[in-house]
């Protein structure tokens, strides 16, 4: 089974973690925090889409030992 390319997903997760870290710091202005939270929602939505894509690609691969139907 070939390895799935999770580069994009890893990148999105990294961006989300950095954004969450900024929010945890609590030093953003209310407007900046609100804007960053919306960015997080957009990143999470993209990550969800990427995960669905990877899941589809993964399930398209034949399971180990699975015979091909003739």
């Amino acid at each position: 089974m070939s390895e799935l390319d999770t580069t994009r997903l890893d990148d999105l997760v990294g961006q989300l973690e950095r954004a969450a870290e900024q929010l945890r710091g609590g030093e953003l202005s209310p407007d900046a925090a609100a804007s960053l939270v919306e960015d997080c929602a957009a990143l999470a939505s993209q990550a969800s889409g990427e995960l669905e894509k990877l899941t589809r690609e993964g399930s398209a691969e034949p399971a180990p030992g699975q015979d091909r139907l003739l």
Binding site: L16, A19, A20, L23, R24, G26, P30, A33, A34, V37, E38, C40, A41, A42, A44, S45, S48, G49, E52
Partner: protein, 139 residues
């Protein structure tokens, strides 16, 4: 978009921000200087999170609560809180379940993934049915 619609969205985002930042809902609301309606909604959703989360989980077709995307979960908690705890929300006219679903679906369309609006619609519809049958529920 009506003022109340904006404030429902803000309440959901306050819950979401609290979850991803690890701050409390009260801390987030204070930092945002949230208006009364937004704050009441977010606090009601947070205070009754166990009961409302149970309603979501039982009607989410096998999805466990912590496996549902955080913003979708927050949007649904706010919708359920407004209908289930009208006494906690300053409003002259309580929102009916259909209105709460419509508002939640609109937020999901704008900010969540492509499958989220249908998911939110289905879960809330079933959860409100359960709420009608058991309005007092178990806290």
């Amino acid at each position: 978009m009506s003022r109340r619609t904006d404030q429902r969205r803000e309440a959901a985002f306050a819950l979401y921000e609290a979850e991803i930042s690890g701050r409390t809902v009260d801390e987030v609301l204070e930092s945002r200087d949230a208006p009364e309606f937004t704050a009441a909604l977010a606090r009601a959703a947070d205070t009754h999170r166990d009961r409302l989360g149970g309603l979501i989980a039982r009607n989410a077709n096998g999805w466990e609560l912590d496996r549902i995307a955080a913003l979708e979960r927050s949007v649904m908690l706010v919708a359920l809180a407004e209908v289930a705890y009208p006494e906690s929300i300053p409003s002259e006219t309580p929102i009916p379940p259909a209105g709460a679903i419509e508002e939640a679906v609109e937020v999901a369309k704008e900010y969540c993934g492509s499958s989220a609006p249908a998911f939110v619609n289905g879960v809330l519809d079933a959860a409100f049915d359960e709420l009608r049958q058991n309005p007092d529920g178990d806290e």
